[in-house]
Amino acid sequence: MTATLSRREWLLSEQPASRRQARLGQGYRTWLALRANPLAMIGLAIVVTLVVVALLANVIAPYDPIIGGDLRTERLLPPSLTHLMGTDEQARDIFSRLVHGSRITLMVVALVAVIATPIGLLVGTTAGYFGGWVDTVLMRVTDIFLAFPRLILALAFVAALGPGIENAIIAIAITSWPPYARLARAETLTIRDTDYINAIRLQGARPVRIIWGHVVPLCLSSVIIRVTLDMAGIILTAAGLGFLGLGAQPPQPEWGAMIAGGRRFIIDQWWVVTMPGLAIFVVSLGFNFLGDGLRDVLDPKARK
């Protein structure tokens, strides 16, 4: 006689019957804990909105972000029903530009995360696992990168490579991986001498397999928390580079560059500067809320 459990009961069961059930159950519990945190939910909503808006930009934006309207009559219009956030000095609808700019923001965040995280993990786990001179050399390199403030180093790289969104992404990624490496190394050091790692070593696994198959998954959760919390900083750095003219080049609707462009008109046409800044602010805030919430849930030691 099989008892039928609701899906929720199955997920929360104290005796999971399979590894898959245990994993799903763990994920579900994490989700429940996260859901209890209102700020984290707001953050998640903002991030999801960003993704949706970026994906559906063409559908959501009412006007073309690059081609403006009539330069005689539609420049610098205040927010209204026809132009939700007004128009800029080239008669482009700001709301549409923001919507399309979300693609750039999402791309920057995603690419930086995708590039910097594996590098950081690799450097950190290798340094932590092997120790000795490998550790010293790798950590020295990491320290050198950490010795510069992030924006400044990114500035220097973009100066060398030339302005443009790809170079900006590379520059930010180069300056982002060091903290992840430090974190991964710290985690690796605590895991390195545990019995289960020793057991795998005794079974003859090679270091590469140990690191990638076992050490990295254990580091993953704290690195993910760190990356999420970092994303706000990445967005702000990218916006800063854009503001200085070093990111996406005009007429691309990059939010930081939009602020720089609207600077001249700030006194009488405040919306040109305020709207893109609000977008940056809200998205950063969302990632911060989400990251804080994730940390409270996944890393109870850090809970205040």
Binding site: R140, I144, A147, R150, L236, I259, G277, F281, S284, L285
Partner: protein
């Protein structure tokens, strides 16, 4: 064994000196790496450095001559060595934008950033520490949430955007503060430059009208930097205070009947002060980064603006010189914060 204590004096001196030497050697190595990174970045530039000197109409002989002059024919390591030598003698090259030695430009710009960042950190500390203590003591309640949100805004808002809005509201609309720049031209020649820190110079020379003018110029950008500094400092203070308030000695103090205010401000804060001072030093370092964008918004003639101007003029040498200086100051501040930690913790410092 009843009460043997650690021997002070000479037997503590030796390990301390050894530790200090190792620390300095480590920092020196980092500096070297810093230099190498900036050197390499300089070589990555797609712009031909020879062309930027001779222009693109020069003849081949001129090109070749300058090529050799710049040492570009030598192997990379040798070029690095020459670069090192130049840097240690203070020769960062010449800015082709200002046609002056870069080191002069940097020295002239530095005090402006120093003044701004110092003022910012002071504001951040004066506001951030009490707010952090408040948030810790009222943990979970409204005051705590408010402080956390205020701090969170500091982590999420683009500093240049807030700066622009600040100018819009406080300068353009309300007229409470002066606009961009450090000082109005009418006052600029009143003061003989002494330290380069205008607030200090004008006060020392008794030029109070100029002092007021300088103050009204610096207050907005300093408050902006101070806000960001406060966000970080208050968050860390809260964290450290929560840690201390959970300790046994706090309970022991309560057992003694010590009033709560004293437990918070004398017992717990004094213990939290040890890591807190390092946080303040780190915040100072972080303001260097913030100053780059702030100075651009406020037309502040400091290192940050120098960097961005050079950047926009593709003056690579100037950019690298500025980056290097900022990197050195950053490392120096981090080092200072490490040293302060060892100095302030009585468990670690030497007893006379």
């Amino acid at each position: 064994m009843s009460g043997a204590t650690k021997t002070g004096g000479r037997s503590r001196a030796l390990p301390f000196a050894w530790k200090a030497t190792k620390l300095l050697a480590s920092v020196a190595l980092t500096f070297l790496g810093l230099l190498f990174v900036t050197f390499l970045i300089g070589r990555v530039v797609p712009v031909d450095p020879v062309l930027s000197v001779v222009g693109d109409r020069a003849s081949q002989t001129v090109y070749d001559r300058v090529y050799i002059e710049l040492g570009l024919d030598k192997p990379l390591i040798q070029q690095f060595w020459i670069y090192l030598q130049k840097v240690f003698t203070g020769d960062f090259g010449e800015s082709f934008m200002t046609k002056r030695p870069i080191v002069d430009d940097i020295l002239r710009a530095f005090p402006a950033t120093l003044e701004l960042a110092t003022f910012g950190v002071i504001l951040g500390t004066i506001l951030g520490v009490p707010l952090g203590v408040l948030a810790a003591v009222k943990q979970g309640r409204l005051a705590d949430q408010v402080v956390r949100v205020v701090g969170l805004i500091g982590y999420s808002a683009p500093i240049f955007w807030l700066g622009l809005l600040g100018l819009l509201i406080f300068y353009a609309k309300l007229g409470w503060v002066a606009g961009p720049g450090r000082i109005d031209i009418s006052y600029e020649y009143d003061i003989t430059p002494a330290t380069g820190l205008l607030l200090l110079d004008s006060a020392m020379q008794g030029k109070w009208a100029a002092f007021r003018n300088i103050f009204s110029h610096i207050i907005l950008p300093a408050s902006l930097l101070g806000y960001f500094s406060m966000a970080y400092i208050s968050r860390m203070t809260r964290s450290f205070m929560l840690n201390e308030l959970a300790q046994e000695y706090v309970i022991a103090a309560r057992v003694k009947g010590v009033p709560e205010w004293r437990i918070i401000w004398v017992h717990a804060l004094r213990n939290a002060a040890v890591p807190l001072v390092t946080v303040i030093a780190l915040s100072y370092a972080g303001l260097l980064e913030g100053s780059v964008l702030t100075e651009t918004v406020f037309a502040w003639p400091g290192l940050g603006q120098y960097l961005t101007n050079s950047l926009q003029n593709a003056d690579m040498n100037a950019v690298l010189g500025g980056t290097l200086v900022i990197g050195v100051v950053f490392v120096g501040l981090n080092l200072l914060s490490d040293l302060l930690y060892t100095l302030l913790d009585p468990r670690v410092r030497r007893r006379t």
